[in-house]
Symmetry: C4
Amino acid sequence: MRKTIIVEKEDVELKNPILVEGLPGLGMVGKITVKYLIKQLKAKKFAELYSPHFAYYVLVNDKGSIKLLNNEFYYWKDDDDGGSDLILLTGDSQAQTIEGQYEVADSIIEFASKKNVSMFITVGGYRRDVVDKPQVLASATSPEALKKALDAGSLINPPGSPVVGAAGLLLGLAKFKGIEGICLLGETPGYIPDPKAAKSILVILMRMLNLKLDLTDIDKEITKIAEIEEKMRKIEEQRKAAEREIRRIEEEKISYIG
Amino acid sequence: MRKTIIVEKEDVELKNPILVEGLPGLGMVGKITVKYLIKQLKAKKFAELYSPHFAYYVLVNDKGSIKLLNNEFYYWKDDDDGGSDLILLTGDSQAQTIEGQYEVADSIIEFASKKNVSMFITVGGYRRDVVDKPQVLASATSPEALKKALDAGSLINPPGSPVVGAAGLLLGLAKFKGIEGICLLGETPGYIPDPKAAKSILVILMRMLNLKLDLTDIDKEITKIAEIEEKMRKIEEQRKAAEREIRRIEEEKISYIG
Amino acid sequence: MRKTIIVEKEDVELKNPILVEGLPGLGMVGKITVKYLIKQLKAKKFAELYSPHFAYYVLVNDKGSIKLLNNEFYYWKDDDDGGSDLILLTGDSQAQTIEGQYEVADSIIEFASKKNVSMFITVGGYRRDVVDKPQVLASATSPEALKKALDAGSLINPPGSPVVGAAGLLLGLAKFKGIEGICLLGETPGYIPDPKAAKSILVILMRMLNLKLDLTDIDKEITKIAEIEEKMRKIEEQRKAAEREIRRIEEEKISYIG
Amino acid sequence: MRKTIIVEKEDVELKNPILVEGLPGLGMVGKITVKYLIKQLKAKKFAELYSPHFAYYVLVNDKGSIKLLNNEFYYWKDDDDGGSDLILLTGDSQAQTIEGQYEVADSIIEFASKKNVSMFITVGGYRRDVVDKPQVLASATSPEALKKALDAGSLINPPGSPVVGAAGLLLGLAKFKGIEGICLLGETPGYIPDPKAAKSILVILMRMLNLKLDLTDIDKEITKIAEIEEKMRKIEEQRKAAEREIRRIEEEKISYIG
């Protein structure tokens, strides 16, 4: 493979489709969000993207089966006549070089254009050291597109901050094909997978896209991650207490000897 | 996007045009200089350059609007019959790889050649640890071209020093198209944006190109940067004073306990 | 040379061939395994692969002769009518960049496809800090292919672990040409050439491919490496003993002076 | 410029030409050697090579003139009827990436092949920590070629050692065009320009190519470098003496206070 390729598994007709992208990145926010959409909407895979710009390894799953890194396109058909169908894009990897990022984004946009996509929504994380209730920060290719995200409850993305990788490039490049775009970033410390930030984006998407989603499962993931963090906090506390005790004993020893 | 492209917004006829380039680099000297020219001359944007060799992120402006990194061409028409029109080139980024630098420079030269550009003037910073009154250091593709820069008050660039990035490559490659070139570097420590170095180049350019520029605004920027530097100096002094005080108290404590 | 090329030295007809690949990597397990197969089976070289993505140096052999880095294809004909002929692939280097890895893998697969290869077996090392008796860990492109490796005594590769480089990519990409694949990784600490891990793979391959191999020579290599390790261990011990002695003398000196 | 190009300034007919290459590298041995040949033989420049794989800066010479990095071809005609004309290749830079190294070597070989070159001699440095009288270490594409270098007084290059960069790749790739090659490496510590290593190669080349060269100038360069090294040694000695003195005074102070 010497170029990025998209292999179509099924030729689907989609009605006014919107593409929602969430690939691996900060806090895995984008990937968690889109994978949750795929699961809840029971979206169906219809195309795979492969690229010589992904990392040069393959994955082994729990049955010893080998998988070449890829990105995957799923579709979901909206029963509502006036609504928009969705294309959901997620995957194992982003391109590892600058030129690769441009080539992969280009392939995705060409494919989306062929499928008559009129709007991209890209999803990811926004680094904040401390996050109580994660806000969603929005930017867009036009004031009209931005308004949709703001009306649904997101805030304007702080100026000057770059949007890195596919979430940014897809929107920057889409305008050459006349496709509008919105970027939604959930605040996250970003050092572990962050379903809380993903949930905050899901809430915005539900309003923007008029979706009905059951959020029980992501709440469970949030609880699970919170428990892991709590455990890590306790271990750290015990480690510090042990260190204090050691220091105390050493000081006693010194004063005793002295 | 898989190749560098130039998108023309307006097809302008230019009279004997000279292209002045100033892209991000040391002390942002080149970019400050050319942006100032654009503003003062009320130059008009007529073309944009995009490249898969720029960094792979997009910028968000203060209205939440997304912008793909680019370089921009502006033009200014000289009312004087005997004069030269100007093409002014600045932008967000330089190419991030060696091959990208050559490809982008190549695209610019091709475009300039199509527009009948006969001369390039590239502008940037020259690292000097301490700079009192910044000098402008010139090099050129021919002794005749160099003479123009020296006559206007610049000094010869020290031999053996490389001119890095677009400012250098554009001139090195332009000769293949028979285009002359001059490089003007303003002395700068280079660690913060340096409007003082930019002003020294603007003075030279005014003489070389017979331009009338109001320098009030750049003087204001110089004052602003000087104030920031003064504030940083004071904070640093306070920090040092606080440290000294802490040390003094600790020593007192020790001698009291002792 | 601007593209990866394969130079065929002899046009051989092969019966239902299986390709076994072992290139430089962790503990040199893959290369040791395939070189051993070549020697024991008296396989014959019939093609060479060259690539501008290998390292940019040449090797000098013990007669002062210069050799461009390459990969080499050998063949072995199975006398048994129902058996499979083998193509054995090893070499000096793997590609040094991501894009290079994909291009070289692609060239190998195209060549194998032309030779009617129906199955790839890729061989390498799996990092384990401590290894008593190295296990062989298998993954594959299909459950049927995996079963062959498990029936021969290997274990399922732990899920989630990536298979890096040619051993992984060849299998991930082969499926586009309808070629099946099995990956066999021998457990190894990986910091020195590890014939013990290679032997454990040879035993599995003998069963899978119904080969008769004399393992005396690899046992000798294992003994040799074990002796080198033992020597290194002793030198390390002597170094530590010397250090202890120096410290003892210094302490004596201090207590004497004190 | 998007590909490596060779610009011919003069179309010369050469008799059985041998190409001698010496580009920047370890101790600058190759470049010093070939530049010396060019000067002594009064060779004439006839072609220039430019590449988007060289570093992305231009050089400024002592007259403020700008020069794009390049490699240069010179020729020298042998008056002797039975002799070989020479092509001498040197320059500012080697390619900065693996793929660039292969592309540039390829361009050189194509050009040489067009000029009917039958033999490459590549020249460079071989790292040795201590070098009394630098030996010349030879490797070659055939035993016959190697014999020429050994007969002229060089030793066989130690096996297993790689020959890095153009000096190696040119020979490794030349065989695809049926061109023979010899590599001559002069022993050098390599941390400063080393005319002594270059001289040892010049002596071998004089014998191999039946050249008459005046070595007075390179002897002067050797003396100059030796003087610089001697000065550096003395400064280092003074620095150490000063440090010892400071320590002595501090110890006196302590014992006085104590």
